[in-house]
Amino acid sequence: MPMNKGPKDRSAKCTVRRSVHLAALVSALATTGVVVLAQSEPVDPRVEGLTFLGEPVLASQVMAGQQLYADNCASCHGASLEGQPDWRRRLDTGRMPAPPHDDSGHTWHHSDRMLFQITKGGVGAVVPGYESDMPAFGEDLTDAEIAAILVYIKSTWPERQREFQAEVSANDTGG
């Protein structure tokens, strides 16, 4: 079962004040490659072309998600979402390494709902009985925090992967 405990540093909070300056936002977003809708208001803009579970994504979510990703996921999935080395090869334990979350991996083949379930409940939540090193974060992260991490990951994908994943999500009718 999961060996990692999840987040230790709960001080890295996910809420970004509305008072944040647009300049700061834009520079932060530049690092994630997010395109921001032109807005005159210096408040939480929507991220163009990105939704999560059908809802629009706000720039503050992406920023919060970036920090939460660094704190909770980067140790295995890589600081630049690059995954563990040689991630297609099984470990000696018989389990698979952590795959990349960028476009070189397969994360973008999964619907929003499935990504959420995997992060909250581990891979066993979508493939019954499956053994893996991916921890279940349901105890350590709130639903909003999990969503923020996933929108951050999604925000890094090129257009093709985003569109593919949007379609997979739209077709995901399961419940």
């Binding site: 297609r88 090869r89 099984r90 018989g94 389990r95 698979m96 795959p99 397969h106 083949h109 999964h110 619907s111 499935m114 891979v123 979508v126 493939v127 019954p128 009985g129 499956y130 893996s132 593919f164 994943q165 379609e167 997979v168 077709n171 995901d172 399961g174 419940g175």
Partner: protein, 309 residues
């Protein structure tokens, strides 16, 4: 359903035709024995043409009545064809490498950028893309080529079943949606059936589509009748005309599924080593049963005896 009358037993000679005399009987016992032992053999339909790799490659244009031997670039262990690309035949070689024919097996090539050395135990062509070829390398894993064999990359390590990594003995691209923007690749291993979505996220058991919903709802899991456990699955086929119709060749016999591999029923009790299904008729199958090629036109309910016995 009416079965066609054939007598088929490919032999080493160029053409068998109607020669079902005593000469043939002398070569039979050795062949039969080899096949029963699970000696690698492979079958494929290229349109109406049947290809049989059983220590040599044999081609029949008349549903197995007569056979012509074809030259190959090595010892063919596995075969794959595609309904939308008549003439294309992919052959996995015992000596390593995947050779490709574009003329129904008459001529072959192997590209420069070869796979790593090692026996190619199984090959498949992606149902939705005749240029996407999968090959399993013994002791290594599942490789893919997106350009009809010109270049190859590792797609996925071997599956982990019953506490060990397992060889992929058979592969089938099954045109059933995964819900992940693609379709499934089924694989037969030394110990049973497994499958991976064609995004290659993870090997997993074959489960009824609504298994997860039932689990979440706390309901009884949907019924399943898997293939017998612990038995090598030597050959697998999914019908292009009805992908949920699948066939599997095991020592315990020839098995069939009507629901993408959740519920299996035995259709022949002789040890089966190879099976293939016609591209346009999911009930038309060819199989090596007890080392003898037999044909069924009704999904395996009845088989055409070949008469040599």
């Amino acid at each position: 359903m009416k079965s066609i009358e054939i007598g088929c037993r490919p032999n080493r000679r160029k053409v068998l035709a109607a020669v079902l005399g005593s000469g043939l009987a002398t070569v039979l016992p050795r062949l039969v024995q080899a096949a029963v032992d699970g000696d690698p053999a492979a079958l494929a339909f290229d349109g109406d043409t049947i290809l049989l790799a059983d220590r040599g490659l044999f081609v029949s244009d008349d549903a197995g009545q007569t056979w012509t031997a074809a030259e190959t670039l090595g010892n063919v262990l596995s075969l794959a064809t595609h309904r939308d690309r008549p003439g294309r035949v992919v052959a996995g070689l015992a000596e390593g490498g995947v050779s490709i024919s574009e003329d129904g097996g008459a001529s072959w090539r192997i590209f420069e950028a070869r796979l790593p050395d090692g026996e190619i135990t199984a090959v498949a062509i992606a149902s939705r893309n005749p240029d996407m070829i999968y090959a399993s390398l013994r002791g290594d894993g599942l490789w893919k080529s997106e350009d009809a064999g010109a270049t190859w990359s590792l797609a996925m390590d071997r599956p982990w079943l019953d506490d060990a990594e397992r060889e992929l003995l058979s592969l089938a691209s099954v045109e059933l949606e995964t819900g992940m923007g693609g379709i499934w690749i089924y694989a037969g291993t030394e110990v049973g059936l497994t499958r991976v979505p064609d995004c290659f996220c993870r090997w997993q058991d074959v489960q009824p589509g609504n298994a997860m919903d039932a689990l979440v709802a706390g309901e009884a899991p949907p019924s399943e009748a898997p293939l017998p456990g612990g038995e090598p699955i030597l050959s697998l086929a999914s019908a292009p005309s009805a992908p949920e119709v699948m066939y599997a060749a095991l020592r315990s016999g020839l098995w069939a599924s009507q629901d993408g591999g959740v519920i299996w029923q035995k259709r022949a009790s002789k040890a089966a080593t190879a099976v293939a299904v016609h591209p346009r008729d999911e009930t038309y199958i060819a199989a090596l049963l007890g080392g003898i090629l037999k044909i069924s036109r009704d999904g395996g309910a009845t088989w055409i005896e070949t008469g040599e016995r």
